[in-house]
């Protein structure tokens, strides 16, 4: 039986309060009028002096080979992807104003989604363990259930953000813009607000209902003297996985791809999924190591840790595979309507864009390749830190370039949102872990799982 230590509880509450203050600060200090923006830009110019003038260019192209700047300006003129509010913009200042106003929204959304996706990914991993009748993992069921207890608050917050963000995130919600844009009109059968909200409600209901019932049956199994609750869990896990793979795809279209509604990519949902899944497994490993260090789960051995670390390793590579497949296909064909997505990411976010590859691919592959290292907790923790930071950046790069463009900065709103949701995550997961004994009973595979070794 685990109880959230009072110090950790206090810590989580403190960073939640700090985070809330920071988020509020972010919203309150966002510029309100074009005059504010002009003032800010004047200040920046004064700071940076003449040498910075080049960056004021709206064109995002620098042709290194020819030593020319902005040679594709004409091609980019009508691309709304680099300016979410699109054609309706009267001036450059208005464009910047919109992006600066979007920034606190984006900062909150990135952190909110990052922690929500961990709970969601753990839920999927959990369902896979049931559906595949895994023999090694039943000892981890209570830990996974503890982490997924964050799904309900987390997903509600994410839902509220995407519903209320409006045209801050989703240019297709701007009616003026749609009226002047044939592409958006063509997509309005799918991208319209009522349907968008209905889809969101369906995702939330589906995911949270599965979480509710699987937890219920899993606890019922501990008291039962037959395997009926287990059978039910098996059945709903299969249906949840089917439901999830569909809703995950539409979720990533709705909440991420429609931020740049002129751009589309077919394997985008898989790419988002791989990010969700690898971060989730990483968090399972971290929580397992933490609980093991407290001596609360003697039935979990370093063999279980080894398996989790193998999953972290394999899905880091899987993520890289999908990242590269998406990047390389678009880079290779270089079709203007597709390539805008990567141009802004490479030109404005170069360090993050390529740094995340090192964090998400190179470090895990080097740290976790040796099979002995996968059984050493602090090695796994190091890899886990790399992976989690890397996938936070990944989500950051899904959202920020599409919403705030080159007006991004990692400052108070971003850090505050990260702190708030980290605190909330620790608090909810800690409480969720503490409700029942960490040792699942009567599961048909629990004996095999406790004696698991290879």
């Amino acid at each position: 039986m685990y109880t959230l230590p009072s110090k950790l509880k206090l810590f989580s509450i403190i960073i939640m309060v700090l985070g809330l203050v920071g988020i509020a600060y972010g919203f309150l200090t966002a510029p309100k009028t074009v005059e504010d923006v002009k003032e800010i830009m004047a200040k920046q110019d004064a700071h940076h002096g003449e040498g910075h003038a080049a960056e004021e260019h709206t064109a995002n192209f620098v042709d290194v080979a020819r030593g020319e700047e902005g040679y594709s300006e004409a091609a980019m003129e009508h691309a709304t992807d680099l300016k979410p509010e699109g054609h309706g913009v009267a001036s450059h200042e208005e464009h910047v104003l919109h992006q600066l106003q979007t920034r606190p929204w984006s900062a909150t959304f990135v952190a909110a989604f990052f922690f929500m996706m961990i709970a969601l990914g753990v839920l999927v991993f959990y369902a896979i363990q049931y559906a595949s009748q895994a023999g090694w993992s039943p000892v981890l069921y209570r830990i996974m259930e503890g982490i997924t207890s964050y799904l309900l608050p987390g997903s509600v917050i994410v839902f509220l953000i995407v519903v209320f963000a409006g045209s801050h995130f989703f240019p297709w919600q701007n009616e003026e813009l749609v009226a002047s844009d044939k592409i958006l009109q063509g997509k309005s059968g799918y991208l319209n607000f009522p349907f968008f909200v209905i889809r969101g409600v369906i995702y939330l209901l589906g995911w949270n209902l599965y979480r509710h019932f699987s937890r219920k049956y899993s606890l019922a199994q501990a008291e039962a003297n037959n395997y009926d609750p287990y059978r039910k869990n098996f059945k709903i896990a299969v249906f949840f996985l089917i439901f999830f793979i569909v809703t995950e795809a539409t979720m990533s279209w709705d909440w991420f791809m429609s931020m740049t509604p002129h751009w589309y990519s077919t394997l985008f949902p898989w790419y988002v999924f791989s990010s969700i899944f690898v971060s989730a497994i990483t968090v399972i490993a971290l929580v397992t190591i933490y609980l093991k260090s407290l001596g609360l789960i003697p039935f979990v051995s370093d063999k279980h840790l080894h398996d989790l670390a193998k999953y972290m390793f394999a899905f880091s590579i899987f993520w890289t595979y999908l990242w590269f497949s998406q990047f390389m296909l678009i880079w290779y064909a270089n079709i203007p309507e597709e390539v805008t997505y990567f141009i802004i990411r490479i030109q404005e976010y170069k360090l993050l864009f390529f740094g995340m590859l090192i964090l998400n691919f190179v470090f895990p592959i080097l740290v976790l390749m040796n099979s002995d290292y996968k059984r050493i907790p602090w090695f796994v923790v190091i890899a886990a830190v790399f992976i989690l930071i890397g996938h936070y950046i990944d989500i950051f790069l899904l959202v920020m370039p599409s919403t705030v463009g080159h007006n991004w900065y990692f400052g108070i709103p971003e850090i505050a949102a990260l702190l708030f949701f980290l605190g909330l995550f620790i608090f909810v997961v800690g409480t969720g872990l503490g409700k029942v004994s960490l040792r699942p009973k009567n599961d048909p595979f629990i004996k095999e799982s406790e004696n698991y070794h290879f």
């Binding site: 080979a65 590269f324 390749m369």
Partner: protein, 178 residues
């Protein structure tokens, strides 16, 4: 020099595992064990050192990666940098995404094939190699443990092996070639 070996045959892998553990505990030297299929944990019970094949494979993989990088850098960037469909052939890194499939495949190719060849060489396997089965039944359903009997009392050792559950025990004396 004549060498004396004792071949003890078992009919069950659990029995074999138990016998191996007892033989090792009694300080007899097991020179070889023949089984029809991999017995889980047998290498550990016999006390074999862990294999280093995976390490060689990693090094071979790095070799393959280096070969791929050097090859394509020379061909595509240095030797004859043409404009092929507008791909940037000015530097290696600018055109790297196009090279990655080849870099990946060559890494895997070198890692896999060289490791397999290393395995053949280390375990002395090749076509036309003379098979070394001491007893044909060990490829079907029998397990054979071979023990050095050089410095031991054969009677005592036989009695010991009989107690471990061996179904057949035979003394092998052969003249070695060298």
């Amino acid at each position: 020099m004549a060498s004396k070996k004792i071949h003890a045959i078992y009919t069950d892998d659990d029995l074999l595992m138990q016998a191996v553990k007892q033989t090792r505990a009694a300080n007899y030297h097991i020179s070889e064990v023949f089984t029809p299929f991999p017995v889980h944990g047998l290498d550990h019970a016999v006390g074999l050192a862990p294999t280093r094949l995976a390490i060689t494979s990693f090094l071979y993989g790095l070799t393959g990666l280096t070969v791929a990088v050097l090859m394509m850098n020379y061909i595509m960037i240095e030797d004859w940098p043409q404009n092929i469909g507008g791909k940037p052939s000015f530097t290696f890194y600018q055109n790297m995404p196009a090279f990655i499939p080849i870099m990946f495949e060559l890494t895997v190719f070198f890692a896999a094939h060289l490791m397999v060849i290393t395995f053949y060489m280390r375990s002395k396997l090749w076509p036309f190699k003379k098979a070394e089965n001491p007893d044909l039944r060990t490829t079907d359903d029998h397990f054979l443990m071979e023990i050095d009997a050089e410095n031991h009392d054969v009677e005592k050792l036989t009695k010991f092996l009989y107690d471990t559950g061996a179904s057949e025990i035979s003394l092998i004396e052969n003249e070695q070639d060298h």
